[in-house]
Structure formats: C-alpha cells, structure tokens
Amino acid sequence: MEEHHEKSVEVRVVTTSGIYPEAGFDRVPEHQVVDVVLKKADHHLHITNTAGWIAVVGGRKIDIARSYRDNALTGRVEIDWGPDHGAGGYA
C-alpha cells in the first residue's frame, strides 16, 4: 500500500499591527493557499481592509492566491504582509 506523507511548512505573518501567531509558527500543508493564513492573521490582529496589500517572503513578492508549493516556499516561511509602496504625487 502506498504511504501518503503530507508535506507541511511552518509559517508566521509579520505586520505593523503585530505578529501571527503570537509565538512560534503555524504548521500548515504545503498545498494550502497562502491567503488562508493571511485571513487568520487579519482576524487575529483586527486588520479590516487589506486592499492594495502585498505579501513578501525573503524580499520576493508572492502570489497569495496560490499555495506554498506553487510559490516554491518550504520549511519555515515568514510572510511580510502590508500595503504596497505608495504612488508619487508628481508635485
């Protein structure tokens, strides 16, 4: 019988409103969509509107609608979550 090993990643979300989880990392399946943990972080940290926000890991912007595996993320993953750069006003 084929043995099934579910691969997982350890994830933490870092924002200027706080950290999720409060301590340590959440262990989640690598096929899980990144947005799932971001929604949990938003709820936990009372973040209500993330329009225009981006997720960055190791300096690279990731696609939150795709899984950790699809974003080539393994092991311990620290997601920096916050608003993207502002636009200049051309004054």
């Binding site: 933490r12 870092v14 924002t15 200027t16 409103s17 706080g18 950290i19 973040i47 209500t48 509107n49 993330t50 225009g52 926000w53 981006i54 300096g59 620290e78 920096d80 916050g82 608003p83 993207d84 750069h85 502002g86 636009a87 200049g88 006003g89 051309y90 004054a91």
Partner: protein, 145 residues
C-alpha cells in the same frame, strides 16, 4: 485633536511594532517617544536611510516626515525612486526635500495637492503610522534590496 488622545493613539500604534518585525525588515527604531517616530531602514547592499516622523496632532493631521542621515542630520538631497515619492525639489513650506505621497503632511500641504484631503483617507489601514511606514519602506526597497 486633544494631545492626550493623540499621544494615546500614537503609543497604541507603535507598541505593535514587534522586535520580529524590526529584525525581518531591517528597521532600527531610534525613537518612539511621542510625538517623534524615528525609524532607520537598512538594506543588504549596505544602504541606510532614516526617516523622522513628527506626529503632533496625530491623526487629525498626517505626520510631517524628514529625511535624515544615519547620524540624525537632515539630508539636503535624496535618491529619487521610480514612483517619484522621494522628491528633491524644495517644499514650499520647509524648503527641503520631501515625501510626495498621500499620508504625509508635506504632500497634503503642497499647492499641487490642495484638493487631495487627508480627511478622505485618514484612519484607513494604509494610513496608520505602520501602514505609512510600510509604504515608504517598499518605496525604498525598490531602490535597495
């Protein structure tokens, strides 16, 4: 806005800047004593920039932001970014380089943006002190990885 209320909001927001955040972003917190929020950005390429937020009357008014060198002296010039947020031309009020971005006092008081009111965006998630700092950090990251 009453100073006590302004101070309370300021302190509530900056208290959420956890050490994990500062370490992962390469931020140095020089001061978080109301009304000054003084934060340095460091990049792996060795570049550094320090921004001094003057947050008197927060958040009735947006913060006034000054560019500093790492030693705390005002910069007379600043590296331009692709989005033209860092503006080297003298601001009509201060005569110094300024940040031309929504959420910054020098933007909203510039004659070119007289119709772009702070009140329209005040209180939004992008325009907390952390939200504004994050936007500016991403601007700077576009120059220095």
């Amino acid at each position: 806005m009453h100073e006590a209320a302004s101070r309370a909001l300021f302190e509530e927001e900056v208290a959420k800047f956890r050490p994990e955040l500062l370490e992962s972003r390469g931020w140095t917190l020089f001061s978080k004593d109301f009304p000054v929020l003084d934060v340095g950005f460091s990049a792996k390429d060795g570049a550094r920039l320090r921004l001094r937020f003057l947050c008197n009357d927060w958040n009735e008014c947006p913060p006034s932001v000054e560019f500093l060198d790492w030693g705390g002296q005002p910069l007379v010039g600043i590296e331009r970014d692709p989005a033209s947020v860092f503006n080297n031309s003298p601001h009509p009020s201060t005569g110094r380089p300024f940040i031309c971005m929504k959420g910054i006092r020098e933007y909203h008081t510039h004659p070119s943006h007289a119709n772009d009111a702070w009140e329209a965006i005040r209180g939004g998630e992008k325009f907390t002190l952390g939200g504004i700092l994050t936007q500016l950090w991403h601007v700077w990251r576009s120059l220095h990885k």
